[in-house]
Symmetry: C2
Subunit: 102 residues, 2 copies
């Protein structure tokens, strides 16, 4: 199994808006080959820290989705003002992992 973690940071006053956007996500990814699941985690110590965690059967499934039209569509749905609020700290935000034990 392969995991992608996007670490997002937003000001506390935009965090609820960010979470609402995830709760209303288009779910385009859900039908892609190799997609396992997606969760959004909010730190309970640092409310501005939000992780988007998606799990995949393997790395190829993830990279194929990242190049897909659906991935672009999903991003295009994000309100521009929210996108700007998130974008400020997107540097080095994507981390990927192999699941090595359960």
């Amino acid at each position: 199994m392969y995991v992608s973690v996007s670490r997002l940071r937003v000001h506390a006053d935009r965090c609820d808006e960010l979470i609402a956007a995830f709760q209303e996500r288009a779910r385009l990814v859900d039908s892609h080959a190799g997609f396992v699941d997606l969760q959004v985690w909010r730190s309970d110590r640092d409310p501005g820290e939000v992780l988007m965690v998606s799990r995949w059967s393997d790395r190829d499934a993830f990279t194929t989705y990242m190049k897909s039209h659906d991935h672009r569509l999903s991003h295009d749905r994000i309100r521009p003002s929210l996108k700007r609020a998130i974008a400020l700290e997107r540097l080095e935000h994507l981390h990927t992992y192999e699941v090595v034990a359960e």
Copy 2:
């Protein structure tokens, strides 16, 4: 759902040993109330970065386990030399999250 992430860093030459220790874990946690699952993730860009990710029904289930005898037993099983290799970077290693969207 509540998530605990322990970020561990070990030298590349100890990483296989660390993963083997997780693969041979005692599984004492698995029967605790509120435990959902546990995975160990290894970064594919930085092989010395390993995350231990456990999911729980809620924060109380997690904190109850952390105070339990089984949690102490699990840690006591780790070989001292491996524990020392991990301990160097354990500062601020524990992060906890609420699952806010799926």
